[in-house]
Structure formats: C-alpha cells, structure tokens
Amino acid sequence: MSQFQRRNVPINPNNTKPGKDRTTNTFAGLGFATLGALVIWNSQEFESSGAVTPIFIGTALIVLSVSLIAASFLVPRAIPSIEAPSGSLWRRAIGAMVIVVWVSLLPYFGFLPTSIAAFIAISFTVPTAQVWSVQKFAFHAFTAAAVATLFWFTLTSYLGIALPETQLPFFN
C-alpha cells in the first residue's frame, strides 16, 4: 500500500516491485550507455560531417541512460513497473522459432510451400480448448493452402510482386 493516496488510488498502482525493476532498469541503462559509447568511438572513423549526428545520438543515449539509472534509484516509484507478459512464454518461443525457420527456408523452398507449412505450424501453436483431430488438421491445412494461394495469386498476378520461388529441383 502506498503511503500517499488520493481518492483511494495508490500513487502509482503499477509499480509494486521497484526493487526488481531497479535492477532491470540499471542493466538496461548500462547497456544503452555502453551502446552510446561504442557509437561515439566508432564515429571517429567517419568524416566530420558524417560523424556529428552519431556523436550527438551517442551522447544523448549516455545522458538518458544515466538519467534512467539515477531515476530508478532516486525516484523509483516515478517509473512505471515493468509488466510481466501474460500468457504462455513457451508458446511465444515456439511461435518465434516457427517464424525464424519459415524465413530461413523461404529462399530455398519458395513462398507457397513454406507459407503453408508455417501457417499450419502457427495454428498448432495457438492455445485452444479443443483437441486437435484429423478433421481439424485437414481444415487448417485447407485454410492454410487457400489463404497462402490467394495472397500468392493476388500479389504475383495483379500487383507484379515476384514472391520467392522454390530453388529445389524436386519442386520444379
């Protein structure tokens, strides 16, 4: 409970764990301050007119990062708390991996096969109360093929966009 209240509302209802946030903000501040320093150091290689803006940005990053660290120690409750993500982190990680694999395979397998496979894989990643069955899988496979083909046809035929084709002889 906050020491100060107005109309029964805490001063900063979000910030309930300033100690943990202080550590996070300190690490983030140190990281960005280091980045600012690296930018300034790297800018020495450039012509003076090309170096002036990166040096300005690097300096601003250092000043702001120091301010963030100072604020998290001096006025921790003035900084809103860092919200932990709701929902499953594992599903996020799996979804991210599916997208990485999809993009990695895109130049080799082409747009259509990878997109249909990724569509189905992402569908499986979404949490659902229903149990996956053969019918459900068939429905999602059909939807994946329909949506990906619709996009592919529209983009290649009407908008003149050359989506990646498969490079593997097996598919040609």
Partner: protein, 509 residues
C-alpha cells in the same frame, strides 16, 4: 468560380467510376499491414499511363486518400498499423477493439478521416499559394527541431515513462544512421554487410517493430482476439456521429494541425497524427484517459493524417517539391502526362487541377458510406475469426508486407531481427513506437543538424544559427513544453496526494 466551372466536368460516369475504384483499391491495400500509401501508388501507377491526365490524377489521388484511411483497419483491429500514419491510431483504437468497441472505433475513424480529408482538400483549393510559403520558411535548423519535437512528443506520450521513450527515440535515430550517410557519403555501422549499405528500410522495420510482437503475443493466450461488441451493431453509426459532434473541437483542431504539417515537405502524416494526438490529449479533460481506449485519440490521429493528403499536395503542385513519397509518385504521374508544375498550374492547367480537386472531394465524401459499411463487416470478420487462423494470417501479411516493398529477402530478415529486438525491449518497459518515429525522422534530423552545423560554422555562430528564427524558437518552446509539462503536471498532482494516517492505512485492503 473556375473551380465550379470545372467541378461539373468531374461528374462523368467514367470519372466517378475511376474515383470509386481508386478509393476501394486504396482502402484494401492500406488495410494490409505494411502495404503503405507509397506502395499502393507505385504499384497502381502503370495503370494510369493509358488514362488522360485528369483521370490519372483522380485515380492516384483517390488511391492515396483511400490507403491513408485504410491503414486504420489493421491498426484498430489487430494493433498492426497498416500505414505509418496510423501508428497513433493503435494507441486508443486497439484498446477500444479489445473491449468490444471495435465497430465504434472504425466508425469514428471513418467520420474523422472524411472530415479531415475534406478540410485538407479545401485548404489545398483555396490556400495553396499561401500554404506554400510555410514550406519555404523551413530551413535546416527548423527541420532539425521539427524532428526532435516529433520524438519528444512521442516520448512524452509514453505515460510516465519519458526517459525510456526518449531512449527508444534515440535508438530509432541510431538505426537511421546505418548505411551510407546522406551528408558525408560514409558507410556507417554497416559491419561490412552489403544489405545494410542502403540503410534500414523503413517499412520492413515498422512491420518488424510493431506487427511481429503482436503476432507473437497472439500465440500466448487462448480465446478470441477481440471481445464481442458492447452494443448492438446498428447503434454504431448514430453513436459515432454523436461522439464526433461532442468532439468537434478535437476534429477541427486535428484537421488544421494535419493541414499545416502536411504542407511541410517530409513531415508527413505520421508526424501530423502524432502532434494532433498529443494536442488532443493535452486539451482533453482529465477523465478522458488517452492510451486506454479514448475515442478522442482515434479522432485526432485519423483527422490529422487524412488532412495531410490534400495539404501535402500543395508543395508538390505549387513548388514542385514532393513533401512525401506518395506525393513524389503523384508528381511523377503529372510529369508523365505533361502537366507543368509551378505557381501557374492553377491558371494554365485549371481543367486538370480543378477536376482533380472536385473528384478528390467527391471520393472523400463517398468514403463515409463505403468506410462505415466496410468497417462493420471487417470488424465482425476479425472478431469472429479464431486465433488459429487469425495469427498465421497476420504473420503471413507481415512477411509479405516486408518483402513486397522492394522484392527483397534481406528486408524480411531485417523485419525479423527488429521484430524480436522490439519484443525484447517491450519486456524491459521500453515503448517501440518512438523507435519507429526515430527511424522515420532520422534522415530529416540528420540533414537539418549537419547542414545547420556547417552553415553555422561558416557564419561563425553554430549555436546561434539553431535559434535565429521565430519558427525555431517556437519549436524549441514546444519541445520544452512537451518535456516539462507532463513532469510539472505530475508534480502538481503529487502535491494533491495527502499522507494517510497509519490507523486508516491499516484498514485498507
């Protein structure tokens, strides 16, 4: 009177059909995440080669207006801005959709877009020569301060999180430094990667930073993406009309801001919607919580970004300076069709210009019924679509949006890297919208800053050169106000808090 004479020429069957088709195509393309107004115009430009000059301009103008409005669909319903101009629409539009007010949000976005669009076109019609003078008043220091103002505003909107907002803004500026410098020609921060020589492409970066985290978060929880409508579907039109009437000062102010900022070359709809959003939140009574589903936020953003469409054509038509990439495509179409740009355009090519303006006005008015009907059905479609289909479809659109702008696989990789970077930053409490704005404003800020330093050095007074005009001083004052005012207001509200005695505090839950 010239306008009225030529306006009647607009209402031929072919011109009306061209305007309607252009607007519908624009709305559809703009609604897809990542496919911007520039993309819509560039892709559809070849279709105009067989048209006469009037029809070609009418078609492109309505595509531009439609795509600017279309950006609000994805912004409100999926939290993925269809166009950069719609970034601020996500701030309140998406929270409204989440709580079941998506249809209402789309309706007020439609009303605001139409009103803003009409005011921008009227300004273009009656004030073009006068507005063109504003564009000429901006020199390197003013451009620099304008870019910093944009960053400061978005940082100040990061609810009590200004330092993190500013850090994010400067990260965006830093990203804009990657590639060959426009000032010195140095290849900066490319790490010997040829893909980075041309810099970080804006559209893929925007999709990565704003859309990919949405896709990843869609996968984390079961249930439907949006809540069911709070009210009966049929009530949205009247409710939206009443809201617009209640917020008429917000609509007019945002449209004027959009009109004025649209005239300044390179500023564009993203800056206009940001400034008008900031002004709307500042002028609103405290009970209106901007950023938490306040209709005024959607109104401010949409009225301003559509107002820039008409006014942005002023420097293009009068001075031959395309203020934004879409204006450059329209300028190219004018040159292809032999329309000479310049102050005499309105007298020498009155038939083309006035017919174009009347057609734009007609299409913008027609956007109201079309937008309201489309909005209702698209909202219901997105609401009823299960996440198992919605999430992969949005993922597919983000990939296509990143790839399509330059047909480049590297852009997809950049989108992916920045997407994960943006998602990671949000976990540390850093907002990503300032990064996008920093990336957008980076080239303007750098050119303004470096040129000001060079000119100032030549004059022997670098610092003085940054402050030697009224506009510069006004912009600096606005920056200080954006930084100081929220802190001051918070300090005042702190003073109103009173310590609660221990005895009473113990009774609180």
């Amino acid at each position: 009177m010239d306008f009225l004479n030529f306006a009647f020429d607009t209402f031929t069957l072919s011109n009306i059909a061209i305007a309607m088709i252009g607007m519908l195509l624009g709305i559809v393309i703009g609604a897809l995440p990542g496919l911007s107004s520039t993309f819509a115009l560039a892709v559809l430009l070849p279709l105009t080669f067989t048209m006469d000059a009037t029809s070609a301009l009418l078609f492109l103008g309505t595509v531009y207006m439609g795509s600017t409005y279309g950006g609000c669909f994805a912004a409100i319903l999926v939290n993925t801005p269809g166009t950069p101009q719609s970034i601020t629409t996500t701030f309140d539009g998406y929270p409204m959709a989440k709580r079941g007010d998506g249809g209402f949000a789309l309706s007020i976005a439609c009303f605001s877009s139409v009103i803003g669009g009409i005011l921008g076109i009227i300004a273009f019609l009656f004030l073009a020569p006068q507005l063109a003078k504003i564009a000429l008043l901006f020199r390197p220091p003013e451009y620099f301060w304008l870019a910093i103002l944009g960053l400061t505003i978005i940082a100040s909107l990061s609810e009590g999180n200004m330092i993190k907002g500013l850090i994010a803004g400067f990260i965006g500026l830093l990203l804009s430094q990657i590639g060959v410098s426009v000032v010195s020609g140095d290849a900066r921060f490319t790490f010997e990667q040829t893909a980075l020589i041309g810099g970080i492409p804006f559209i893929p970066a925007t999709i990565g930073l704003l859309c990919l985290p949405v896709v990843i978060d869609l996968l984390s929880e079961p249930g439907h993406h949006l809540a069911s409508p709070l009210r009966a579907r049929n009530g949205q039109f009247g409710r939206a009309a009443r809201e617009i009437w209640n917020q008429k000062s917000n609509v007019v102010r945002s449209s004027i801001i959009g009109t004025v900022i649209g005239v300044i070359p390179a500023a564009g709809g993203a800056v206009a919607s940001l400034v008008s959003y900031s002004e709307a939140s500042r002028a609103a009574p405290p009970e209106r919580k901007f950023g938490q589903g306040e209709p005024g936020g959607v109104i401010a953003s949409e009225a301003a970004n559509n107002a820039t469409v008409g006014s942005g054509l002023v420097p293009t038509f009068v001075l031959g300076i395309p203020g934004t990439p879409p204006d450059a495509v329209i300028l190219a179409a004018m040159l292809v069709h032999g329309v000479q740009i310049g102050p005499k355009l309105f007298t020498e090519h009155g038939d083309v210009v006035y017919t174009f303006i009347a057609g734009m006005l007609f299409a913008t008015v027609m956007m109201l019924p079309v937008g309201l009907v489309l909005g209702r059905y698209i909202y219901l479609l997105v609401m009823k679509t299960p996440k198992t289909i919605l999430a992969p479809t949005v993922a597919l659109m983000t990939l296509i949006g990143a790839f399509a702008i330059q047909n480049s696989y590297h852009d997809v990789v950049i989108m992916l890297v920045l997407g994960f970077f943006g998602w990671g930053l949000t976990r540390f409490g850093f907002p990503v919208a300032p990064i996008v704005l920093g990336l957008l404003l980076g080239p303007i800020a750098e050119q303004g800053f470096a040129q000001s330093v060079m000119i100032g050095s030549a004059k022997g007074d670098v610092i003085g050169y940054f402050f030697n005009s009224t506009i510069s001083i006004l912009l600096v004052a606005s920056i200080l106000a954006a930084v100081v005012l929220p802190t001051l207001l918070r300090a005042i509200s702190h003073r109103r808090y009173v310590p609660i005695p221990e005895t009473q505090r113990a009774n609180k839950p």
